[in-house]
C-alpha cells in the first residue's frame, strides 16, 4: 500500500491549482471576447461592446442582435437599434418593477473550484469597482453549507444563556427595534491566501476579491442584549446560523456591546440570500467568518465554545507550530485596482491610478503610491467621505514614461498602523507551507507594468 505523504503538499497544491484554474477559465473566456471585439484593453472585459459594434456594423438595428445570445447575469438581452433616436425604447416598468444592469456589462463573481459548490467562495471583481460600494450582486461570498432559503415569517432569533430573561424575536420584532445604518467593509480573513509564498493569481479579483463594502442597516446588538439583561460573569456570545453548516463562532461580549449589530438591510433593500437573509451578524472590522449569516441564535456564556471554525479553521499557524486563535481584526490594507493584473496599458502617457484602502481599526488617514517598487512614495488623494472600517477610494495621477514600473499602494490608518510589506509579515509569522498561516495577509500588493503595457502580479 502506498504510504501517505507526510505533509499535505498534494492537497495544498490541488487547492491552489483549483483556484488558478477557476481564474484561468474566467480569463480565457474574457480573452476570447477581447480578441473578437478588438475592444480597448484597458478593461478586462469586452464582449458586450463587441456585440453592440457587430450588430451596428451589420445593420441589423431593431432586430434581435444575435440569435440565442444570452444576456450576462443580472441583465436582460434587448435589441439594439442602429439609431436610438429613431425608435421608441423599452416600455416603462416592463422589467416587472425591479431593474437590471446593462446587457453590455458582464463583470461577475467567479467561484473558487472547490469539489463541492456548497462549501465554496466567490470573489468580487474589484478591477471594475467604482467608488466604495460593492453592488449587492457582486459582494463576495463564503459558504460552508450552501445558500439556505429562509422564509422570514418563520424565522426567529433566540437570545439565551447567561441572561436574566431569554428572548425570542420574530423578524417583525426585530424590525421594531431602533435601527442604524453603517457603510462598512467585510473581508474574509482568507483573502489573499494564495499569495503568501509567491504571486499566484493573476487578477485583483483573485488576489483581493474577498472584500466588499455595503451600507448595512439593522439593530445594535447592545439593544437586543439589554432586553434580556446580561448576568455577571458573562464574557462571550455564541452566534449560530441557520444554514446546513449551522455555523457557530464565539464572540467576545465586549464587541457585542460595542459596535456589533444585526443587519437586515443591504444597500437600501433586504440583504441578499447569499449574505444571510433575513438577518446577519455584523462585527465592524472583524474577519468575515464571524459575521454569522442566517443568524438564528445568540447564547451568552462565560467561556468561548471552541467551535470547529475557531479552532481547526480561522486560526493562524505560525512557524513555531503554535497557532494564533481569535485573531478577529482585519488590519489596514490597500490595493491598486487600476491598473491591475491582466490589464494592458495602450502606451505611455497619463493614467489615473486608483484603488481601495481599508482598515478594521478605523479610518484610513494616508495612502501612498509607489511606481518604482517602493523606492519612492507619494501621497494619493483620498476620496471623501472617508469612513471608519470602510473601503476608501484613492486616486493618483501618474504619467507613465513607458519604461517597466512596479506599482504599489500602502495604507496608514488612524491608529498609525502602516500596511506592511510581505517580508515584514513572514519575518514575524514564518511561512508554514505554501499558503503560510493562510489568514490575515494584508501586505502591500505589487503590480509590474512591462514596457509593452501589460500588468502582472509580482512580489517586489
Amino acid at each position: 500500500m502506498k504510504t501517505q505523504d507526510p505533509y499535505d503538499n498534494e492537497k495544498t497544491r490541488r487547492k491552489i491549482e483549483a483556484m488558478v484554474e477557476a481564474e484561468e477559465r474566467y480569463l480565457a473566456a474574457l480573452r476570447r471576447e477581447r480578441l473578437e471585439s478588438e475592444a480597448t484593453p484597458l478593461r478586462i472585459t469586452g464582449r458586450r461592446t463587441f456585440l453592440a459594434a457587430a450588430a451596428a456594423a451589420a445593420g441589423i438595428g431593431g432586430l434581435p442582435r444575435i440569435a440565442g445570445a444570452a444576456a450576462p447575469p443580472g441583465a436582460v438581452e434587448r435589441p439594439v437599434p442602429a439609431d436610438p433616436t429613431k425608435v421608441q425604447g423599452t416600455p416603462t416598468n416592463d422589467d416587472g418593477g425591479y431593474g437590471s444592469r446593462s446587457q453590455f456589462e458582464s463583470e461577475a463573481r467567479w467561484r473558487f473550484g472547490t469539489p463541492t459548490k456548497e462549501s465554496s467562495w466567490t470573489m468580487t471583481p474589484l478591477e471594475h469597482g467604482m467608488g466604495i460600494i460593492t453592488p449587492s450582486g457582486l459582494h463576495f461570498e463564503r459558504h460552508h453549507g450552501g445558500i439556505t432559503t429562509i422564509d422570514p415569517s418563520r424565522h426567529t432569533l433566540l437570545v439565551h444563556g447567561m441572561v436574566e430573561q431569554a428572548k425570542k424575536y420574530s423578524m417583525a420584532d426585530i424590525h421594531r427595534f431602533p435601527s442604524i445604518s453603517r457603510t462598512m467593509f467585510i473581508e474574509c480573513s482568507g483573502n489573499g491566501l494564495t499569495e503568501w509564498s509567491k504571486p499566484t493569481l493573476k487578477t485583483v479579483q483573485g488576489t483581493h476579491g474577498l472584500t466588499s463594502t455595503s451600507e448595512w442597516t439593522g439593530v445594535p446588538l447592545a439593544l437586543l442584549l439589554r432586553e434580556s439583561g446580561i448576568k455577571p460573569g458573562a464574557k462571550w456570545v455564541l452566534a449560530e446560523g441557520a444554514d446546513a453548516a449551522v455555523m457557530t463562532r464565539s464572540i467576545p461580549l465586549d464587541k457585542c456591546l460595542d459596535d456589533a449589530f444585526i443587519a437586515y438591510g443591504q444597500n437600501g433593500e433586504a440583504i441578499r440570500p447569499e449574505q444571510g437573509y433575513p438577518i446577519r451578524l455584523m462585527l465592524p472590522g472583524w474577519e468575515g467568518n464571524t459575521h454569522i449569516k442566517w443568524l438564528r441564535r445568540l447564547e451568552v456564556s462565560d467561556v468561548p465554545y471552541q467551535t470547529r471554525e475557531e479552532t481547526s479553521k480561522y486560526t493562524d499557524l505560525m512557524a513555531n507550530g503554535i497557532a494564533r486563535q481569535f485573531t478577529f481584526v482585519m488590519e489596514a490594507k490597500s490595493v491598486i485596482t487600476f491598473p491591475s493584473g491582466e490589464m494592458k496599458l495602450p502606451g505611455p502617457g497619463f493614467y489615473e491610478v486608483t484603488g481601495i484602502a481599508w482598515s478594521g481599526r478605523g479610518k484610513i488617514t494616508r495612502l501612498e503610491v509607489s511606481a518604482d517598487g517602493g523606492k519612492t512614495w507619494a501621497d494619493a488623494h483620498l476620496q471623501g467621505p472617508v469612513l471608519p472600517i470602510c473601503h476608501t477610494r484613492f486616486r493618483f495621477p501618474w504619467l507613465w514614461d513607458g519604461k517597466p514600473a512596479v506599482l504599489q499602494s500602502r495604507a496608514t490608518d488612524e491608529t498609525g498602523y502602516v500596511q506592511p510589506m510581505l517580508k515584514q509579515l513572514t519575518d514575524v509569522r514564518g511561512l508554514n507551507g505554501p499558503i503560510g498561516s493562510i489568514y490575515h495577509l494584508n501586505a502591500v500588493q505589487s503590480w509590474a507594468v512591462a514596457a509593452d503595457g501589460s500588468v502582472t502580479n509580482v512580489h517586489a
Binding site: 490541488r14 469539489p115 457557530t248 456564556s301 479552532t311 512557524a319 515584514q424
Partner: protein, 198 residues
C-alpha cells in the same frame, strides 16, 4: 408661524440639549453610526419555552450540556463506513471532498513554503468536544445533523481510536469526552498579538 428658520433653531436647540445631557458622549467618531435611541428596555420579543431552547446545542470544552448516550470504537467504525467513508476515505486519509482526519503529528513546526502542515483532528484540533459538536451539527455533508447522539459519540470514538488518542476499548460519552487530552491541546495562543509588525 412655523418657519424654516424656526425649524433650524429648534434643531440647534435640540442638539444643545442632548450635549448638555451628555448623550453625545457615546459618539467616538463623527462617522460611527450610533442609535438615535437612548432610552431603556423596549419589552420587545417573547419568552421562549424551555423546549424551544432545548432544541439547540453547542458544547464548550468543559463538556457542559453534553447529551446522554455513548458510543464505542466498534460502533463508530460501522457508522463511519456507511456515512463518512465516501468523503473522508477508508483510512481517514481524506479525499478531495472531505478533510483528512488523522495523522500529521510533528508537521506543525515548519518554516518551509515547500512543506504544507497537516492539520487534522489528531494533529491540530485542541478539544475533542469540538469534534463531537461539529459531527452532530453539520455532518455528514449530504445529510447534516442527521446522526443520533449515540452515532456521533461512536464516530468520535472511532476517529480518536484511529488517531491513537484514546484506547479502542474506551467508550465515549458525556463523562469521558471532555476528559480526552488532545495532542495539540496547548497549541493555541490568544489574545491576538497583532499588530505584530512595526
Amino acid at each position: 408661524m412655523f418657519t424654516l428658520r424656526t425649524a433650524k433653531w429648534l434643531g440647534v436647540s435640540a442638539c444643545a440639549a442632548l450635549l448638555a445631557a451628555g448623550c453625545a458622549a457615546t459618539q467616538r467618531s463623527g462617522e460611527v453610526p450610533q442609535s438615535a435611541y437612548a432610552g431603556g428596555k423596549l419589552n420587545l420579543g417573547t419568552a421562549p419555552t424551555t423546549a424551544e431552547i432545548a432544541h439547540y446545542f453547542s458544547y464548550p470544552a468543559d463538556g457542559r450540556g453534553l447529551p446522554s448516550g455513548s458510543g464505542s470504537y466498534a460502533q463508530g467504525e460501522k457508522v463511519y463506513q456507511t456515512k463518512c467513508l465516501a468523503c473522508h476515505g477508508d483510512k481517514l486519509q481524506g479525499t478531495p471532498l472531505g478533510d483528512r482526519l488523522i495523522g500529521g503529528r510533528g508537521t506543525l513546526v515548519n518554516n518551509s513554503p515547500a512543506k504544507a502542515p497537516v492539520k487534522t483532528v489528531e494533529s491540530y484540533w485542541p478539544y475533542a468536544t469540538s469534534v463531537f459538536d461539529y459531527v452532530k451539527r453539520a455532518m455528514p455533508f449530504n445529510a447534516p445533523g442527521s446522526l443520533s447522539d449515540d452515532e456521533a459519540y461512536a464516530v468520535v470514538a472511532y476517529i480518536l481510536g484511529e488517531a491513537n488518542i484514546v484506547a479502542k476499548n474506551e467508550v465515549i460519552n458525556a463523562g469521558t469526552l471532555a476528559r480526552v487530552q488532545m495532542p495539540n491541546r496547548n497549541g493555541f495562543v490568544s489574545p491576538d498579538p497583532r499588530p505584530d509588525v512595526p
